[in-house]
Amino acid sequence: MAFRYEIRLSGAGGQGLILVGKVLAEAAAIYDGLNATQSQSYGPEARGGASRSEVIISDTDIDYPKAENIDILLALTQEACDKYGSDVKPDGIIVIDSQTVTNPPAGNFTVVSLPILQSAVERLGKFVVANIIALGVIHKLSNIVSEEAIKSAIRSRVPKGTEEINLKAFQTGVDLATEWLKNHPDHAT
């Protein structure tokens, strides 16, 4: 049966969420042969530091470009979580950063709280790779695009010389999500 998977990545400007959106869309479309669209925050949304990027992945043509029934939401700030939490569909997933989002929304969805920003600094010594850690988490929890495809897309999107650290960051995200799934067997994908 045809599927349509909607991912929204939200947080503050400068957290590299647009790049994550591009990587995911290219991984799906170029490397896994799926259909994908990617859009990003615009107009007043992009002002004041807020940032949003959306990716829709499908195995058939994507005839409607807006994401409205979100399967997985990444929220790296409280504000983003408050703003977009309600768009997550029933049984969807909200991934939040445990440091910056202290007040997770309640509803018919699973909240996955992980130390994404903290891991970037503590495990990899680089705050700037937090976005790729988040990508690892999203990948593991959604299981919609293959790991190889994402790794190829990362290599082809990040600046030269940073490929290794970004791949490590991706793996860190995968590990964080694996650990979480181990502790929450009901949600195994």
């Binding site: 994507i62 005839d63 290599r155």
Partner: protein
């Protein structure tokens, strides 16, 4: 066929690998499909008609040829993708080579950048339009196509995405378009640049396209989002039905342009939106660890160009085209437009090249390891070279910030012009004037109703200026109309205004301050309090609104200061809770800190200090950003003092002198609250306070002297001004000025002159919220005291003459000469204090004893009057002074001298002095943070613990602990004073 550029296959791939990693999809595509493409073209004898390793002059025709020789749709798409990849890489590599060539042969770097951007943009648009055209032929054959037109929107320079707006003829056939554009979108994402359909994300309900009717529905009744509007106004048809585009242009786009003598509501809305956006960006404080050319400059410049484009009807589809057209036709602002041109070409090129060589990201994190290598690469391509040990990338970074400065300066100047145009044409302003003239309806209700159309815009300065007009008719009418509504209607209107104010806090906050400025008493009314309360209680604690507040500090510090001064403590507390909450991630950390610092000052400081804070911050609002920077405040204060000479008129000088005093007072207060050393604050305070008094005397004297003859003019030598009390002791934060104006003459004319002088001085001191005190004026009925007055008084001494004696023995000369002081010593101090020192000392000791007796009957704590308090110490010191026959203010120097000549009580004197300083420190902090009252409320001592502990490196954890220490100190003082007096054979 014109050959434009040739390169070998190997060279092409080698050079492309030097570009950013995101080019790998093009390289992979070429590597996989090149051979097949080549052999197919050879097979169909098309090799000589298709440019594979040269830039194609007509890519559409060549793509159509390639499509014609493929077997099926999938095959066509694969070959076309490969051809696109070849042409795309050729395009960029050629542009880079041309850039290098021109930078080496042309002196004007900006012209080269411009050529580079325009050429690359044109080539890219031609190539992508051709690709989309051929793909659409595959996905949507021409005979099946409904009416539509694809428009390119956005900047059309960058290659990271392609912004499109698609207009269709309505819902009926939209599904056909949606299916085709869905396929086109995925194909472009895989093989070219991502398509973005921002317009259709906002307009219409589904699909990738929207109809003109959808645009009408969304935009007819409210102005909407100005960023989307600017995208829309930039629309240029790429392919499809041009008549449909013309209809769209006539019905939708045209109304956002200025029409002389016509309807300008939409134009006004667009300008309000854009000017709000420009101001936010203009006063945005860029991060020190990141670069973001779009946020730091490009958005601001482009928004400004849009205001001009729609105002002046300027043709041009890119920002550079628009700017060039304006530059040519505007000689008056040529300099500013040239600055904008330099900034625009610099930032656009920098951003383009960074995205080409490094990564397609807007934000450049400067702390990343590889950033210097990457920036060096960009710098070299932009024509910089390592010079005198300064690497090219460092020069580039300096220029980055210089160009932002240039862009900001030019934007601010041109923005004024646009703002003036807005004020001349705004329908809202005309409506307000008409409302007042007609004297009908409720202005507060009518205004917000009219403003509904403009919901979301952030620029209301012209309206606020009208309200602040000196004749104040509008604001008075506004207040009356608003405040006389029924409480229920007021409540509804509060909600409407507050909602309006969230998108534009500056406008609503300005409105609050204008109301309070117009009617001082309004801030105590229930109506105004409720209005403020509604605003604060409903303030959305999100990043966007809070950042806007912080930004206001940059462009309207006075308004923010005035607003904070209006808020009662509970509302200030609520506001602080919103500002301080940790969940909000703030870009402008410095702005946040200053805002919170200022709010805390208003919340926690005493009325006494707040007077100075409010006045100084209001007068020198620009300095608010440096409130927590003492060295900078110090420099500013010195500048303000030196600058007094530069004012022409005496009234202006006097006015500025008062401002200087306020500013310095605020600075000293902030310093003590900040935990600075007590001695230093006293020193600083005395310095400016003496400066003030001396200059005040000079200026007042000069003002009076203008009416005097030359002989009368010389009479000033007979005058002197002495300060007594805290000012004499070089102590800070007295709430009064103990002054003695002495005259060594009995001439009635001189007395009158002195009285005029004193009255002038008084008037100015009073404006500083300080009370000038003239102890002798109460005795003699005038401000000026003559030597004869004093001798007569002391000859017929009253029991409490010791008060006057102590005042004189510890006084300090501020204005006057040495001969005058010598004569004063001989005629007054010597005979009436030194020669009567026993009686004087006895009176002081009696006073101490009496106070101890009655104090115990009071159920309060008074730091000055309590046994062992400040007055006990001062009286004890006056007694020692008289005993030694010395006349000078109490100071560290005096203490040192006393210890030297009285070694037997030196340790007691030293301990007493230390205790006195400590108690005085507590009193000063209490004055600044709680109240100017020597009678302490122990509960409030908690408010001074922070600065006291910081300054003294102590660890008092609660008011009770501090109270206990104060009691122990005063008790110790009692013992020390008793011991000192006993050793001198005086007893209490």
């Amino acid at each position: 066929m014109k050959t434009t550029y040739f390169i070998t296959f190997t060279d092409l791939l080698t050079q492309a690998r030097e570009l950013g990693n995101h080019h790998s999809k093009y390289i992979n595509n070429i590597e996989q499909n090149f051979d097949e493409l080549l052999s197919l073209l050879d097979k169909d004898n098309l090799s000589n008609q298709v440019h594979l390793l040269q830039l194609a002059p007509n890519p559409l025709r060549e793509m159509q040829l390639i499509a014609s020789c493929a077997a099926d749709s999938a095959h066509q798409r694969r070959l076309l993708a490969s051809y696109y990849a070849l042409q795309f890489l050729l395009l960029d590599l050629k542009a880079l080579n041309m850039l290098q060539l021109r930078l080496n042969t042309t002196a004007n770097r900006y012209e080269v950048y411009q050529q580079f951007l325009m050429q690359t943009g044109n080539d890219f648009r031609r190539l992508t339009a051709a690709y989309m055209n051929v793909l659409l032929d595959i996905f949507l054959p021409k005979d099946l196509r409904p009416e539509f037109v694809i428009c390119g929107v956005g900047t059309r320079v960058d290659q990271d995405d392609i912004d499109l707006g698609i207009i269709d003829a309505g819902k009926t056939e939209r599904p056909i378009l949606t299916a085709a554009f869905g396929k086109l979108n995925t194909e472009m994402l895989k093989n070219a640049s991502t398509l973005h359909f921002h317009l259709s994300e906002h307009v219409g309900t589904e699909g990738y396209s929207a109809s003109i009717a959808d645009y009408h529905q969304l935009l007819d009744h409210s102005i909407g989002d100005c960023v989307i509007l600017s995208e829309m106004l930039n629309a240029v048809p790429i392919l499809g039905n041009l008549d449909l585009f013309q209809q769209f242009k006539a019905e939708i786009l045209e109304r956002y342009y200025y029409h002389k003598n016509g309807e300008n509501k939409y134009h006004e809305g667009l300008l309000r939106g854009l000017l709000g956006e420009i101001r936010d960006l203009l006063y945005f404080v860029p991060s020190e660890t990141t670069l973001n050319p779009k946020r730091d400059a490009l958005r601001m410049i482009k928004a400004l160009l849009f205001t001009l484009k729609t105002w002046k009807h300027i043709e041009g589809t890119t920002s550079l085209e628009v700017l060039n057209a304006i530059r040519k036709g505007n000689r008056l602002r040529r300099e500013q437009f040239d600055q904008l041109y330099q900034a625009l070409t610099f930032f656009e090129s920098f951003r383009f090249l960074y995205q080409l060589f490094v990564v397609q990201e807007e934000e450049i994190v400067l702390t990343a390891n590889e950033v210097s290598d990457n920036l060096q690469k960009i710098a070299i391509v932009m024509g910089y070279t390592d010079r005198n040990f300064v690497p090219a990338y460092k020069q580039l970074l300096v220029h980055y910030h210089d160009h932002r400065q240039l862009a900001c300066q030019a934007t601010a100047a041109i923005m004024e012009q646009v703002s003036h145009h807005l004020s001349q044409t705004a329908t809202l302003a005309l409506f307000m004037n008409r409302s007042v003239l007609e004297k009908q309806g409720n202005l507060a209700v009518k205004f917000i109703r009219e403003a509904r159309f403009f919901q979301g815009v952030r620029y209301w300065d012209d309206i606020m200026s009208r309200l602040a007009n000196p004749n104040q008719i509008l604001i008075r009418r506004f207040i009356t109309d608003f405040s006389t509504l029924s409480p229920l209607k007021q409540q509804i209107l509060f909600k409407t205004y507050v909602q309006w104010g969230f998108s534009s806090p500056y406008a609503l906050i300005t409105l609050f301050t204008l109301m309070a400025h117009n009617q001082r008493e309004i801030k105590n009314t229930l109506f105004f309090q409720n209005f403020l309360q509604y605003f604060i209680e409903n303030f959305p604690p999100n990043l966007e609104t809070i950042n806007r507040l912080y930004q206001m500090l940059n462009f309207a510090p006075k308004v923010i200061n005035d607003f904070l001064s209006l808020l009662p403590s509970p509302l200030l507390t609520q506001l602080l809770q919103i500002l301080e909450q940790p969940k909000v991630l703030i870009e402008n950390e410095r702005g946040r800190n200053t805002f919170i610092f200022l709010s805390r000052l208003y919340l926690h400081s005493s009325y006494y200090f707040r007077h100075f804070l409010q006045r100084a911050s209001s007068t020198y609002a620009d300095y608010l950003l440096s409130l927590d920077n003492q060295p900078k405040l110090s420099q500013m204060a010195a500048g303000l003092y030196r600058n007094l000479d530069n004012f022409e008129s005496l009234p202006e000088k006097l006015h500025r002198l008062g401002d200087y005093y306020d500013f310095e007072f605020m600075r000293a207060g902030l310093s003590l609250i900040g935990g600075a050393a007590f001695e230093k604050v006293n020193r600083d305070f005395t310095y400016f306070s003496d400066n003030y008094l001396r200059m005040l005397f000079e200026l007042c004297r000069e003002e009076i002297s203008q009416t005097l003859s030359d002989t009368e003019f010389q009479a000033w030598d007979n005058f002197a001004i002495l300060v007594a009390g805290g000012h004499a002791r070089r102590q800070a934060f007295d709430d009064d000025y103990d002054l003695v104006i002495l005259l060594d003459s009995d001439e009635p004319d001189l007395l009158r002159l002195g009285e005029r002088l004193a009255q002038k001085i008084n008037r100015h001191i009073l404006r500083r919220s300080i009370m000038p005190h003239y102890r002798f004026a109460e005795r003699f009925g005038r401000y000026v005291t003559t030597f004869r007055d004093l001798t007569t008084f002391f000859e017929h001494s009253s029991p409490d003459a010791f008060i006057e004696q102590s005042l004189l023995i510890g006084a300090r000369l501020i204005v006057g000469n040495s001969p005058f002081l010598t004569r004063f010593q001989q005629v007054i101090i010597q005979p009436y204090i030194f020669e009567r020192n026993n009686a004087f000392c006895r009176a002081l000791i009696t006073e101490i004893a009496m106070r101890r007796t009655y104090y115990h009957k009071l159920a309060v704590f008074n730091i000055k009057e309590c046994p062992g308090g400040l007055r006990d110490f001062e009286n004890c010191l006056f007694a020692l002074l008289a005993f030694r026959k010395w006349s000078e203010p109490i100071s560290a120097t005096l203490i040192a001298r006393l210890k030297q000549v009285m070694p037997s009580i030196s340790s007691e004197i030293e301990q007493l002095w230390q205790n006195y300083q400590w108690l005085k420190h507590i009193r000063d902090l209490y004055r600044l943070l709680v109240a100017t009252d020597d009678q302490f409320h122990i509960d409030h001592l908690g408010e001074i613990l922070g600065p006291l502990n910081k300054s003294r490196q102590t660890e008092f954890g609660s008011p009770l602990e501090l109270e206990k220490a104060i009691n122990q100190t005063t008790a110790q003082n009692v013992k020390l004073i008793n011991a000192i007096l006993q050793m001198l054979d005086w007893s209490i």
